[in-house]
């Protein structure tokens, strides 16, 4: 204690100038190096600062200087073990120079630099700190200035008291910075540029992006407050136009005069549609009608769309599976049939609700995802493939599901029926629903812009539509009676359906090859062999009993699944799903698209994905046909492919501008037309040729 007092006395006695470097006068600024405290203890971090007083009318620059200018540059010379961090800049101001805007500082600027002291610094000594500082200082003209700034820092035993003359300045400079993340922020594009979406009631908010070229400094900075949020609309810089960033990071300054504070924000990109999009970009059906269809109409469309989904190519694998289950159930009484259909419906509805909920949660978190996002993930595709393969083996009779080992002679329908029916419903949604069929484009697009509860009800309406045929069969006695009588043909049919599963497997393997490359397919192949072993062992266990078979089955299944979970899109061969196209395909590029449109070249944009069966059917049966290819050539129409097989925020945003949230989507830009024409989800050769030849407006 006495020693501490003694030390304190020593410091009071020490000349105060020791912690304040000599001022250096350059043409238009006086600059010095200062410290927040009278000294520093070994291993501790203390704040230094470059402190500038500027001539009236002159300014220096923030870390992103805006349209012109340069930030402060510091080149430190420090003793061994000492380290200076990047400077914390003062809060910037928007400085207008004619038509340009800079981000900078006037009058006085304190650049705080945290300094960590060496562990082995010797208390009682004084260490010399030195920095070569250079900066650009401008009024209407600009002058580069530089200075060597020095400071002698006493090393102390314990943390030293604040420096009396300038310590307060550093404290103030720090106090105006609020912790990062204390203001929630996201951004969306309104068709002109990024719009920050912030909490309501901010006082005089100003946004300063950390990175140059994302935002045009002299562009719009329109602040609107209302509807429980504050928006700041900005103009895009060239880097933004090239590729909108996943998150727009910068400093949000709020308050006025000497009550300004700065909060670092990280605004994640969202795909939400903003109401102020320019008319050229909103061309979906609802916009053309001049208003969004009512909720009733949307729910009706969703229900109809769900019903029609049953005959879409997407759902083929499930139709076969469902048919085989119905065939089994038909052998039993009507109660069992009703139970079967009810459980299937429950499976469909539960998984629609879960998927929609997940989708809304992800979007609320700022992820740019659309309907069917899970199929963009190779892990999901791999797990589906294993599952479909096991179902195929099950149909072939390699093993039974839900049957006790002994087999107590239950009816076929009861055996494993409950679980099977429910999961067929789940599978139907997972595999089939992401393909957006007729009638569904508008409801799904609208659902995603609605509050979550309304959105989920739209998806539930689709689910009811999807399950309707099976519900009808079970509820209407006439229909159920018309099902064929059971017999040995049922087993034959069931085994034949296994090959539909294997066909589905081939498709999934192809999707995976696009998403994860040859190594992904290899991983899947090995997984299938192991899964096959598991299925066989499980079946043997059922036939002859014995724990060993079950253990082998469980182990093999685990070994099959683990490598799949580690699949990644990293090995993907880019855009290789275009390979199957006869037409000369250009990848989707909005800059190219707009220049083609300016030149009056007609453009056909194909929003597709390898996992979208409807898309592939359209490609094979319509787009690759000679008549269509000839019409493309004759009309000089460019064919652009927006491949959504793996996540792509640009394509997600483009889909959303058309009020859609999934593929397929076909757009035709006629020469000179303001807005694209949206073609139906199921293409026809005659329809496409008519559009290309301009016979149909």
């Amino acid at each position: 204690m006495i020693r501490l007092l003694f030390l304190l006395c020593l410091f009071w006695a020490a000349p105060a100038a020791a912690q304040v470097g000599a001022p250096v006068e350059t043409g238009h600024a006086t600059t010095r190096l200062i410290a927040a405290r009278q000294g520093g203890a070994p291993g501790e971090t203390i704040d230094l600062a470059v402190y500038q007083r500027l001539d009236p009318g002159w300014h220096v620059y923030w870390q992103n200087p805006g349209d012109s200018g340069l930030p402060l540059s510091l080149d430190w010379s420090l003793p061994d073990g000492f380290e200076a961090s990047e400077p914390l800049y003062p809060l910037p101001h928007r400085l207008s120079l004619g038509t340009l805007v800079n981000y900078g500082h006037e009058d006085e600027a304190v650049f705080v630099v945290p300094l960590s002291l060496a562990e082995d610094a010797e208390p009682g000594r004084t260490v010399p700190l030195s920095v070569e500082a250079s900066w650009l200082i401008c009024s209407d003209i600009c002058i580069p200035e530089s200075a060597t700034l020095t400071l002698d820092l006493p090393i102390t035993d314990a943390p030293a008291p604040p420096e009396r003359r300038y310590g307060g300045l550093i404290e103030e400079a720090r106090a105006v910075h609020r912790p990062a993340g204390s203001i929630a922020a996201r951004y969306a594009d309104d068709g002109t540029g990024p719009v920050l979406i912030l909490p309501p009631d901010l006082e005089a908010p100003e946004f300063f992006p950390y990175e140059a070229n994302l935002v045009e400094p002299a562009g719009r900075h329109e602040v609107t407050d209302g509807d429980g949020e504050t928006r700041i609309a900005l103009d895009p810089g060239f880097a933004y136009l090239d590729a909108p960033p996943e998150s727009l990071d910068g400093l949000l300054v709020t308050g006025s005069d000497d009550r300004r504070v700065g909060t670092p924000i990280s605004a994640a990109r969202t795909g939400e549609a903003l109401s102020v999009a320019p008319p050229a970009l909103t061309s979906d059906v609802s916009a053309r009608r001049g208003r969004t269809p009512g909720l009733g109409a949307i729910l009706m469309l969703a229900f109809l769309g769900g019903l029609v989904l049953n005959v879409m190519p997407c759902v083929f694998p499930i139709v076969f599976l469902k048919a085989s289950q119905l065939a089994r159930a038909a052998q039993a009484d009507r109660t069992a049939l009703r139970r079967e259909a009810g459980l299937y419906t429950a499976g469909v509805l539960v998984s629609f609700a879960v998927m929609a909920g997940l989708l809304f949660a992800l979007r609320a978190g700022g992820a740019a995802v659309g309907w069917g996002f899970h199929l963009q993930n190779p892990v999901v595709i791999g797990l589906f493939a294993v599952l479909i393969f096991l179902i195929g083996l099950n149909l072939l009779g390699a093993f039974e599901v839900g049957t006790s080992v002994q087999g107590r002679g239950q009816s076929l329908a009861e055996r494993g029926g409950d679980l099977g029916a429910f999961f067929t419903g789940v599978l139907a949604v997972l595999v089939a629903a992401p393909c957006i069929g007729p009638f569904l484009g508008v409801p799904v697009g609208v659902a995603l812009t609605q509050p979550a509860a309304l959105g989920v009800s739209v998806f539930l309406a689709i689910g009811l539509g999807l399950a309707l045929p099976y519900l009808l069969i079970s509820l209407l006695p006439g229909l159920a009676r018309s099902l064929p009588r059971p017999g040995p043909w049922m087993t034959t049919l069931r085994q034949l359906f296994a090959f539909a599963m294997f066909a589905t497997l081939v498709w999934l393997a192809w999707v995976l090859s696009v998403q994860a490359g040859p190594n992904g397919v290899l991983t899947l192949g090995i997984a299938l062999v192991l899964a096959g072993l598991a299925g066989w062992a499980f079946g043997r266990g059922q036939a002859v009993g014995g724990r060993a078979f079950r253990i082998v089955a469980a182990a093999a299944l685990l070994l099959a699944i683990v490598p799949i979970v580690r699949l990644s899109a990293a090995d993907a061969a880019p855009r290789s799903s275009e390979a199957g196209s006869v037409l000369d395909a250009a990848p989707y590029d909005e800059a190219v698209l707009s220049s083609l449109r300016e030149r009056g070249t007609p453009v056909f944009v194909d929003f597709t994905a390898a996992w979208c069966v409807t898309c592939q059917v359209n490609k094979q049966t319509v787009l690759n046909r000679d008549a269509v290819v000839a019409a493309f050539e004759a009309s000089g129409t460019r064919y652009m492919v927006a491949d959504w097989t793996v996540p792509d925020p640009v394509i997600t945003a483009a889909l959303e501008r058309q009020g859609r949230s999934g593929v397929p989507l076909y757009l035709y830009y006629a020469p000179g037309a303001d807005a694209p024409r949206i073609l139906p989800q199921m293409l026809s050769v005659n329809g496409v040729v008519a559009v290309l030849e301009g016979r149909e407006s």
Partner: protein
């Protein structure tokens, strides 16, 4: 709060017109301007030739960096030697730094041994606004078809220090070399550095 928002939007509306910068890959906007010799030239006069636009202000330290070192003159000579048209544009308004008469502009070129094809006197800032020129220097490279192929800084090191020139990579000569060899321009747009254009 409302008032500040309104002021900001009003300011941005005024500025908005000037910030619709031409995009790389798009046709470079055509313009007509008076040269230091008193002729009127248009960008369209040079169709079929590569054109470099250089925004300049002889008193700006960043311009001095590239002229005092001879860097800009060497670039001009290399470019014009293979038929590229080099236009130095002065957008300083009367009374502002860098504003010069036609005679003085010609004299400056002789003193500094500069070799542009022509110097454009853009004292009303029309060409500058058309290209959203922000700094001196701010460089633009246009190909034979009139398409803008590069816009931005002259080189990779934003400073006013002559010693940085040998260490920096020059974006303009890289773009011209790519065009000469029928290759894609690698870096197409960068943040320009220098003094603000004195509109």
């Amino acid at each position: 709060m409302k008032r500040i928002a309104a002021t900001l939007s009003a300011a941005s509306l005024l500025a908005g017109a000037a910030t619709a910068a031409p995009r790389v890959g798009q046709p470079a906007p055509d313009f007509s301007a008076r040269t230091a010799e008193g002729q009127t030239v248009s960008l369209s006069d040079y169709e079929g030739k590569k054109v470099v636009l250089e925004w300049t202000n002889n008193e700006c330290p960043f311009v001095k960096k590239h002229y005092d070192s001879g860097n800009m003159q060497a670039l001009q000579r290399r470019a014009t030697a293979d038929g590229t048209v080099w236009l130095s544009v002065i957008s300083s308004a009367p009374g502002k730094q860098g504003h010069v008469s036609g005679d003085r502009a010609t004299e400056l070129s002789a003193e500094r041994k500069a070799a542009p094809t022509a110097i454009l006197l853009d004292e009303d800032g029309e060409v500058g606004q058309l290209y959203a020129a922000k700094t001196t220097p701010h460089m633009f490279v246009i190909d034979e078809t009139g398409t803008l192929r590069y816009a931005g800084a002259i080189d990779t090191i934003p400073s006013a220090d002559i010693d940085d020139i040998p260490r920096a990579e020059n974006y303009v000569s890289a773009a011209l070399a790519s065009l000469r060899n029928d290759q894609r321009v690698v870096t197409t747009q960068t943040q320009p550095y220098g003094c603000s254009v004195k509109y």
